[in-house]
C-alpha cells in the first residue's frame, strides 16, 4: 500500500496524500510516486518518493546537468560544436550500437549526421523533443564517468543512477539501467529552480531548455493558462513520468515529480499524471501560494 513518507513536511499534507492515493487506485497504475518541493512556501510532500523507477527519458535531466557541469569545468562551451555520429559503445561490453531513427522522436539530429551541431542545440533537442541521438552524443562526449562524478559532487549519489546511454539494449539485457527516485529528481530540479546548479547563468540556460519541452499532456495539462512549466517527460512500455518546475504567476516556483509504472497495455497514463498535477496545484493554492486564475 502506498504511504506518505512525511519527510520534511511543514504543513499537514494529509488531504493531498488522500487525493494521490485515490488517483493511484483509480488510474490502474502499478506504482506511483510523487515529490513536491515548493520554493514559495517551503512545503515538501513525498509519496513513495524513495522508490526506485526505471528512469526512461527523465534521465535526460541528469545528463543535461552533466553537460553543463562540463561547461562549468571549462571542458566545452554551449556553442561548442560536436560531430553528429550515430555510433556508440554499449555500457555492457563496449560493442557498437546505434539509435534507431524510426524509434527516435526527433528527426533533426539524425538529419545532421556527418555534420556538426552546437552543444546547446543538442541539449535543446535532447529535452524538447527527447532526442535519443542527441542524448547519446552528449553523454559520449562528456563521458559517463565524468557525468557520474559531476552528479556525485552535487550530492546526487542517492536518488539518481546514471549508468548508460539510451537505446543501449545490450546493457538493458544485462540489467544495466538508469534509475531515479522522485525525491532524487525533485532535489535536482530544485537546485536548478533556485539557480544554484553551477551558476545562475548556467541554471538559467538549463531552465530555458527545460521550458522548451514539447510534450505537455502531463504536469502542464491541468494548470492555468499563464503557467509555465520547465519539465522533462519519460515514457516507455511500462513507464510514464513527468518531472518539472512549475511557474505560476506571482509566486515562486514549485517542483513536481510524478513517476508511474504500468502494465504494458495500461492506459490513462498522462491523465493520471495530470490529475496528480492538478491535485498538487490545488493543494498549494489552498495553502496561500497561488489562486486559480483559469
Amino acid at each position: 500500500m502506498a504511504k506518505d513518507t512525511k519527510k520534511k513536511q511543514t504543513r499537514d499534507t494529509a488531504n493531498l496524500r488522500d487525493r494521490v492515493e485515490q488517483i493511484e487506485r483509480e488510474s490502474g497504475a502499478t506504482a506511483l510516486a510523487v515529490a513536491v518541493r515548493d520554493v514559495e512556501t517551503s512545503i515538501e510532500f513525498d509519496y513513495e518518493s524513495d522508490r526506485w523507477f526505471h528512469a526512461a527519458s527523465t534521465i535526460k535531466i541528469p545528463i543535461l546537468v552533466g553537460v553543463f557541469g562540463a561547461v562549468h569545468a571549462g571542458e566545452l562551451l554551449p556553442q561548442s560544436r560536436l560531430h553528429v555520429r550515430n555510433r556508440f559503445r554499449s555500457a555492457d561490453d563496449d560493442s557498437i550500437f546505434r539509435v534507431d531513427p524510426e524509434r527516435d522522436a526527433n528527426a533533426v539530429v539524425h538529419a545532421a549526421i556527418g555534420k556538426t551541431m552546437q552543444v546547446r542545440e543538442l541539449a535543446f533537442h535532447m529535452i524538447a523533443t527527447s532526442s535519443n541521438l542527441a542524448t547519446n552524443l552528449l553523454l559520449d562526449f562528456v563521458g559517463l564517468q565524468s557525468m557520474q562524478r559531476t552528479l556525485a559532487d552535487l550530492g546526487f549519489d542517492d536518488g539518481i543512477e546514471l549508468h548508460r546511454g539510451v537505446e543501449d539494449n545490450r546493457a538493458f539485457d544485462a540489467g544495466i539501467s538508469n534509475r531515479v527516485t522522485a525525491a532524487g529528481l525533485a532535489r535536482m530540479l530544485k537546485l536548478i529552480a533556485e539557480e544554484r546548479a553551477f551558476s545562475r547563468m548556467l541554471s538559467k540556460e538549463m531552465l530555458d531548455i527545460l521550458h522548451a519541452q514539447e510534450f505537455n499532456s502531463g504536469i502542464p495539462a491541468p494548470l492555468p493558462k499563464r503557467t509555465r512549466v520547465a519539465h522533462k517527460t519519460g515514457e516507455i512500455s511500462t513507464i510514464a513520468h513527468d518531472a518539472g518546475i512549475v511557474y505560476l504567476p506571482g509566486r515562486n516556483p514549485y517542483v513536481l515529480v510524478v513517476l508511474t509504472e504500468w502494465e504494458p497495455d495500461g492506459s490513462g497514463r498522462q491523465q493520471a499524471i495530470a490529475r496528480v498535477s492538478e491535485a498538487v496545484y490545488e493543494f498549494l493554492a489552498d495553502e496561500g501560494g497561488s489562486k486559480k486564475d483559469g
Binding site: 560531430h83 555510433r87 556527418g114 556538426t116 552543444v119
Partner: protein, 205 residues
C-alpha cells in the same frame, strides 16, 4: 618579379609560426604509425584567414576548402578559430576526390573531423594521414549513407579502381575498421608549392 598566382592562400613555413601553432601542428616532427614506422609531419601549410574564405574557396569543381577543415570541439582550441593552417597536400586530396566523384556520379560528402585534423586533435593517433591532409572520411554518397558494410565495401571498391595507390579502411566495427564511413587516404604525401619559403630559412625556429 613574382609569377601571377591565382590560388589565394599564402604558403607559410610551419616552423616560422608562433609557438601556439607550432605546438599544435608540430611541423617537420615525426610520428609513429601503427606499425611503429617513423613518419615526418608536413612543414608547409596554407594559411586560411577566415571561415568565409574557406566557405568560398573551391579546391576543385565540387569541393570547397571548408569541407576539409570542418572539425568539432575535439580539435585543439587554437584551430577552432582563425587563422587556421592546412597542409598544402589538401589541394591534391581535393583533386583525387574530384576524380572519385566523377566515378560515382553524384555528391560526395566529407564528415566533420573527416578531412584535415591537426596532430593535437583528440582523434589523431598513430600518424593518422588526416594530419597530412591526405585522408577523407566520407559518410554519404548521393543518397546512400555509408552506415553498413555493403555500402562501404561497394564504394571502397570504386575508390580503389579509380584512384591509383589509394588506401581504404576495411568495413567492420573492430579496431582498425570503419562502420559508419568510407575512409580513404593517399598515405604520407607532403606537398611543397613552388612559392613556399626556403627550406633553409629557419631563422625563427
Amino acid at each position: 618579379m613574382a609569377e601571377d598566382r591565382l590560388f589565394p592562400l599564402q604558403v607559410v613555413d610551419g616552423l616560422a609560426l608562433d609557438q601556439k601553432y607550432r605546438d599544435a601542428l608540430r611541423p617537420g616532427e615525426s610520428l609513429l604509425d601503427a606499425a611503429g614506422r617513423e613518419r615526418t609531419l608536413p612543414r608547409y601549410f596554407y594559411e586560411v584567414p577566415s571561415w568565409d574564405v574557406a566557405r568560398k574557396l573551391e579546391l576543385s569543381p565540387h569541393f570547397y576548402l571548408w569541407e576539409f577543415i570542418q572539425t568539432d570541439v575535439r580539435e585543439v582550441d587554437v584551430f577552432r578559430r582563425f587563422p587556421r593552417y592546412v597542409p598544402c597536400a589538401i589541394t591534391l586530396l581535393a583533386l583525387c576526390l574530384e576524380r572519385f566523384r566523377e566515378a560515382v556520379g553524384t555528391f560526395v560528402h566529407i564528415a566533420a573531423n573527416g578531412g584535415y585534423r591537426s596532430p593535437a586533435h583528440r582523434l589523431s593517433r598513430d600518424a593518422s594521414p588526416h594530419c597530412w591532409g591526405t585522408a577523407a572520411n566520407i559518410y554519404r554518397i548521393g543518397s546512400t549513407w555509408l552506415s553498413d558494410e555493403k555500402s562501404i565495401e561497394r564504394f571502397s571498391m570504386v575508390a580503389r579502381e579509380t584512384l591509383p595507390a589509394v588506401w581504404t579502411r576495411p568495413a567492420g566495427d573492430a579496431a582498425g575498421f570503419a562502420d559508419d564511413h568510407l575512409h580513404l587516404d593517399f598515405g604520407y604525401v607532403v606537398s611543397i608549392p613552388r612559392d613556399a619559403p626556403d627550406d633553409k630559412d629557419k631563422a625563427r625556429r
